[in-house]
């Protein structure tokens, strides 16, 4: 039996033949299989050229020592050694202050370009890192989801130019938030590693060899395990690699980035934005927030890395005149226990603040501050804002996408972004 090359389902993916008549949303040739079965439903149609950068703070960031309720006596009573006092914090108002190492973010706050959403969590929160991360990324409240919310968003993008960089993930592993059944996301630790080496013996720079290789991928039996993943990954890599190298040759950062890998990853994201590669969703992870012991030093280093990296990224975009269409949103799978533990650290907690920064955001504090005197049975904060309502706001008011289609439900819109 001979199957036509470009009309097949593999690993749950539908690959559409070039000649087939398909809705415009599938113009890249790789379609969302699920979308096909839901005829008539809107698939996260996108109507603008805004970019969203998502920063994952992996391990459970201590929200109370990030945005500090420095005048709250309960805070100081429950955190006698690791608590941050009024003279240390960067004062936002009479109630809250930022961690002292967030001075660069404080500068953005002072310019009126930072929103803080307080008390973000979800019902029946899990104290497991992995279940909590699953929930935040797939919205499957059982923690068993497989497709990420950003993956759903990206797979619905219309891009007539066929940009391979509609979404990009910094690192060696694609985040679950970007997992999609139809659209593998370019994932790279650095620009330098994102190119194919040549054989010096070849006079054509490797063209013939690459062509022969792509044929091996295109003719790989489509019923075999991973066939679609392998084929789309190879195609994605070939196209994206060429574009990124061209962009890299033309890009000159306008600031000096810190030298840690988080900042260098942000620099790669800035490069794709400055060079106009069509980036709509960028994703980067900063890890190490699981501060069960000796928290103070670890956390202050992380705060500095976060703040200095984001500020360099933001300034670079500003100086290139590209900051207007970009916002950055941070998240972590949970905050930490209100009361410090016996190891100068904190155990797994629940609600925490999220940062949203950019020229498009409304400055200020949003959501409701959780009450430190009214904790749950485990001594954790009761959340006041559902994280899905933050996502819904970003989708509706920034990305111009249908939050209902992406999130599979309707959630209240917050006011940290103006209506489009």
């Amino acid at each position: 039996m001979k199957l036509s090359r470009r009309a097949m389902i593999r690993d749950g993916m539908l690959v559409v033949s070039a000649g087939m008549v398909m809705p415009a949303v599938f113009s890249r040739g790789v379609a969302s299989a699920r979308a096909l079965t839901q005829e008539g439903s809107r698939v996260a149609q996108v109507s603008n050229d805004h970019t969203l950068i998502v920063v994952q703070m992996a391990g459970g960031n201590d929200g109370l020592n990030t945005v500090v309720p420095y005048t709250d006596s309960t805070y100081h009573k429950l955190r006698p050694t690791i608590g941050l006092t009024e003279d240390k914090v960067l004062r936002l108002d009479d109630r809250l202050g930022l961690h002292p190492n967030l001075s660069a973010l404080k500068g953005i706050w002072d310019k009126g370009e930072l929103a803080i959403v307080e008390g973000v969590g979800y019902p029946h929160s899990s104290l497991s890192h992995f279940q909590a991360m699953d929930i935040w990324q797939t919205l499957d409240m059982s923690g068993n989801g497989s497709e990420g919310w950003l993956g759903k968003l990206v797979s619905g993008f219309v891009d007539k130019d066929g940009h391979p960089f509609q979404a990009m993930n910094i690192g060696t592993q694609t985040a679950q938030a970007l997992a999609s059944i139809s659209t593998p996301i370019p994932t790279l630790p650095s620009v330098q590693s994102y190119r194919l080496s040549k054989d010096v013996a070849e006079h054509d720079g490797g063209d013939a060899r690459l062509q022969a290789l792509m044929k091996l991928y295109n003719t790989y039996p489509r019923s075999s395990p991973f066939a679609a993943l392998l084929d789309t990954t190879a195609t994605n890599a070939r196209d994206g690699g060429q574009q990124l190298q061209q962009a890299d040759a033309a890009y000159h950062p306008a600031v000096t980035y810190p030298t840690d890998s988080f900042s260098l990853g942000l620099k790669t994201l800035a490069e794709t934005i400055v060079q106009g590669l069509g980036l709509r969703v960028g994703y980067i992870t900063l890890g190490g927030f699981d501060t069960h012991a000796n928290q103070t030093t670890i956390h202050q280093n992380l705060m500095k890395t976060l703040s200095d990296g984001l500020s360099a990224f933001y300034r670079d975009l500003e100086l290139h005149g590209k900051a207007d269409n970009v916002i950055v949103m941070t998240w972590s799978e949970f905050g930490r226990r209100v009361e410090e533990n016996g190891s100068l650290g904190t155990d797994h907690g629940t609600a925490a603040p999220m940062f949203v920064l950019g020229k498009g955001v409304k400055h200020g504090l949003f959501g409701e501050p959780p009450d430190l005197t009214s904790l749950d049975i485990d001594g954790n904060l009761k959340y006041t804002v559902d994280f899905r309502s933050v996502y819904a706001t970003v989708l509706e008011r920034w990305m111009g996408a249908s939050s209902k289609d992406v999130l599979g439900g309707t959630y209240p819109i917050q006011n940290f972004l103006p209506a489009l």
Partner: protein
């Protein structure tokens, strides 16, 4: 006999407890900045597919030919394409294909020489040799490592040391099993007590190797009192009046039961019961301090009493969920993902009938029909370690090994530095190993080994293909493809693929820059095309799979 017959002296320590453990009074240097390695922490997607592929496409527009997705259709395709040995759904016993499959899954692939050795033993003979590794000498490896005299107190030397073990060992399953445990009972060098104590990771690694096939009880007892683990999951910071929940929670969630089998109250009870173990400050040892054990009545998973760590381990090892949990991990890592309960039953039986022996579970797994099934064949994406070590071995590459950790990093895996306490998501869902970036890194590593060049301060010589051709008396392009396919692809390559490769091999290259390769029949071919053919074989979809 259980590891902890004398719980206060688990590793022959003669230092009796007196007062506070050193770890409490000596400041321990904290781990370096987390951003040193940008630890991505995306967890594994669910094992479940939430949609039926068949159902999805039932209403697809006409005029389009549709094939069923995934491995289930492999057998059908192979029948259609005339591939032998698939009619019963199992790999034909004793074939090159079955032996190659076994050695990829249980080790790091084969060289041409390995293939000869193991083929002579047959399938069950090979399984015996893999499991009875004590009867196989590994002195060549040990001599090679001692000649290198790597300083294992340095973090950068540790993955090099282990990757070299994988390359040169005659006990592949032992190293593979150690790698399995490293992904389950994991720790990260960045949080084991600071730069002067990185070697705690090697202590842990040697423990996992020494007990890789032991009873699960012994493995859990050992890892609970392992210095790196004590530090990594903060048990060393846990005290009778201030139990730290970290280890207790992960012990249940990630090591034994999985979510859904315990409550937050069980976490707190286990945290209290587990108090007492501490690292000895500044050393590679641990000690149990009964004076720092929470001496009170606790209820843990329905068991009430004055419980200690041995009780916790015993309760967990005897919990009905545990054999299923560990069987699923083993089956997923060694065979295929999303196994059914029926697939797991023989492993669970082996656990309960053999005093919780992991070795018995592994024997049951390797001798199961599922393991030798078509469904298990090329059923996972190769991990970075499998890819780098496997290709390095297969091509007979020679180097100090200093560059190997850089290569596995670029492919998405740094040994001794997993992304988080759940290990590598790719161990559970192997498709997560593959993305456009890691795909390029795979191909670039192949290119480097074939064409030569520098990486991480190490120079590779170009592969001497002429000498292989001469030694093997390779006379035709077809014979060239067949020879390399025998150990790279289990000799399992379709006529269509062979023909594509031979076409490339025989394409003229009037400006070939690096000379020619002359086959045994006297015909010369441009080097660019000859080694390009080998590149294609290693870069092709088939070689990315395990």
């Amino acid at each position: 006999m259980d590891l902890h017959e004398q719980p206060t002296q688990p590793f022959g320590s003669n230092n009796e407890m007196d007062g506070e453990p050193d770890a409490l009074t000596q400041p321990i240097v904290q781990s370096p900045l987390p951003e040193a390695v940008n630890r991505s922490a995306s967890p594994a997607p669910s094992a479940n597919n939430h949609f039926s592929r068949r159902a999805l496409f039932a209403g697809l527009a006409g005029g389009v030919t549709v094939a069923l997705a995934g491995g289930v259709a492999l057998a059908e395709w192979e029948q259609q394409s005339g591939n032998p040995s698939t009619d019963s759904g199992t790999l034909a016993p004793g074939t090159q294909r079955q032996i190659g499959h076994l050695l990829r899954k249980t080790g790091f692939g084969v060289t041409a020489a390995d293939l000869t050795t193991y083929s002579a033993l047959g399938y069950s003979g090979t399984v015996d040799r893999l499991l009875n590794y004590n009867q196989v000498s590994d002195t060549v490896l040990e001599q090679l490592l001692s000649a290198r005299s790597l300083d294992l107190t340095k973090a950068r030397n540790q993955p090099q040391w282990w990757l070299l073990r994988m390359v040169y060992t005659q006990r592949p399953l032992l190293e593979k099993m150690t790698l399995f445990w490293h992904g389950v009972l994991t720790s990260n060098y960045q949080k084991v007590g600071g730069p002067t104590l990185y070697q705690r990771m090697i202590v842990q690694n040697n423990f996992l190797r020494a007990h890789a096939f032991d009873t699960f009880d012994n493995i859990l007892l050992g890892i609970t009192s392992d210095p790196a683990m004590l530090f990594y999951l903060d048990l060393t910071r846990s005290h009778k009046n201030a139990p730290n929940e970290n280890y207790a929670r992960e012990l249940m969630e990630l090591f034994t039961l999985g979510l859904g089998h315990y409550s937050q109250q069980d976490v707190e009870a286990a945290a209290a019961a587990l108090t007492g173990w501490h690292v000895k400050g500044g050393t590679y040892e641990a000690q149990y301090n009964p004076h720092d054990h929470a001496d009170r009545e606790l209820t843990f998973l329905g068991h009430t009493g004055n419980l200690n760590y041995k009780d916790v381990i015993a309760i967990l090892a005897n919990h009905p969920a545990t054999p299923w949990f560990i069987a699923r991990k083993l089956f997923t890592f060694f065979a295929y993902e999303n196994p059914s309960n029926e697939d797991l039953q023989p492993l669970v039986d082996a656990y309960t009938q053999n005093k919780h022996s992991i070795g018995a579970m592994m024997r049951a797994l390797l001798l199961s029909s599922q393991f030798s099934s078509v469904k298990a064949y090329r059923s996972r994406i190769k991990s970075p370690t499998e890819f780098v070590v496997g290709s390095y071995r297969a091509l007979g590459t020679k180097s100090s090994g200093k560059e190997l950790p850089t290569q596995t990093y670029l492919l998405g895996q740094t040994l001794f530095s997993p992304p988080n306490v759940a290990g590598w998501p790719g161990d559970k869902v192997s498709s997560l190993w593959l993305n456009s970036g890691t795909w390029m890194s795979r191909l670039n590593y192949i290119n480097l080994m074939l064409t030569g060049g520098r990486t991480a301060g190490v120079t590779y010589k170009p592969l001497d293909i002429q000498s292989i051709v001469d030694t093997q008396h390779i006379a035709t392009p077809v014979a060239f493809v067949a020879y390399f396919a025998s150990f790279l692809l289990d000799g399992n390559i379709t006529a269509d693929r062979t023909s594509q490769l031979v076409d490339y091999f025989t394409t003229p290259d009037p400006v070939s820059r690096k000379g020619h390769v002359t086959l045994a029949n006297g015909t010369s071919y441009p080097l660019s095309k000859v080694r390009g053919t080998l590149y294609l074989m290693l870069a092709a979809p088939e070689y990315q799979l395990n």
